[in-house]
Amino acid sequence: MSWICPWCGTENDRDDRIGRREPTCKVCGEARTTPEELAKLKKESVGKLEREQKQLNERAGVIRGKMSSVVDDILELEIELSGLKEELEDIRAEAAPVKSALGDWENQDIFFEKRDRAFIAMNDPHQAKLPFEVRACA
């Protein structure tokens, strides 16, 4: 007896059952079933997949929210980075004359005048002279 495959609508001529297994459609290969069972299966499958889709959408929404937050952070950090780069350039410009002056000072030779003990002694009001005279009050 012929039967119509509810999956693809093909009319299958024979109903060869092998053991207790249902015959399969010669075109789509699906096992023979009733349209009501397929409708029920469709409804269940659609319901299940819609729930899964909803869950995935919810997770995607969370991720999108996080991404949006991270992008905002990146934008803020990029602005901050740009500011810091400008500040660094300013400091480099400020440091250039300091570096130059430091180099000048490091290369500056210092020439000490030889310690002149006679000059020091002559300018020392407490330094007595020779020939030494004992003060009258002493």
């Binding site: 003990r117 000059f119 002694a121 330094q127 002279k129 020779l130 002493a138």
Partner: protein
């Protein structure tokens, strides 16, 4: 002509060089003598190199304007063990060790400061100490200040320096054990003590005489050469 071991005449120059760059050298019948004061009239040197220290001493007595730096330069060139001969020839001074001959034009003595008269000062306290120990002490204590207090009490010499925040002192016992009746102390410029200590370093022992706010006199003998330094004190009290 004067013929002398190089180390003796070099030592003679070193003692003078501690205080003066030039001086009037008196050539006596049996001695070379210099009495000179430094530019600031603070320190005086009196040194005698006797005829006995010479291998030959036939130079006519007289006065020579001695450029101490030049003499030292000439002697530094002759770095041998051979004795040095010093002769006056036609107004020049000729140094020779047999290898080198160094002819030097002496200074005109009239352009050099006159020889001072040695002050006769009664310095009541004295000690005899090792010259090297004294030199090392002056060198060590000079790190914190530039004025040295020289004190003598009993048989002990005390050298001390007071800086802005620190004080360093050292006591040295007299070698002769002579007890000084009075305790004395005077303050001196480190610059002068350091230079003179260096010149006396190899003299064995030195005798230090001083008084209260009086000059200090160092008498020493360098291998038969008699010398003394006198340094005026710093007197801060009114």
């Amino acid at each position: 002509m004067m013929k002398i071991e190089q180390k003796r005449i070099t030592a003679f120059c070193d003692v003078l060089r501690a205080l003066v760059p030039e001086c009037r050298l008196i050539i006596g019948p049996d001695v070379l003598n210099v009495i000179a004061v430094d530019t600031a009239n603070v320190a005086m040197v009196n040194i005698n190199l006797h005829k006995a220290q010479f291998e030959e001493f036939t130079e006519e007595p007289g006065e020579v304007g001695m450029d101490v730096v030049k003499w030292k330069q000439a002697l530094d060139i002759m770095k041998g063990d051979a004795p040095v001969t010093i002769t006056r020839q036609a107004g020049k001074i000729v140094f020779s060790d047999g290898l080198y001959t160094y002819t030097h034009t002496p200074l005109d003595p009239t352009t050099i400061r006159k020889r001072p008269t040695c002050p006769t000062i009664n310095l009541p306290a004295s000690v005899v100490i090792e010259a090297k120990e004294y030199h090392d002490t002056i060198k060590a204590i000079g790190v914190i200040g530039d004025k040295v207090r020289v004190s003598i009490k009993g048989t002990t010499l005390e050298l001390s320096v007071e800086g802005d925040t620190d004080l360093i002192r050292k006591e040295i016992e007299s070698k002769d054990g002579k007890e000084n009746a009075v305790a004395v102390a005077s303050l001196f410029s480190l610059d002068y003590l350091k230079e003179t200590a260096k010149a006396m370093r190899d003299s064995g022992t030195i005798t230090i005489h001083t008084g209260k706010d009086h000059p200090v006199r160092f008498d020493f003998d360098l291998d038969g050469m008699e010398a003394s330094f006198m340094i005026a004190p710093r007197i801060e009290a009114d």
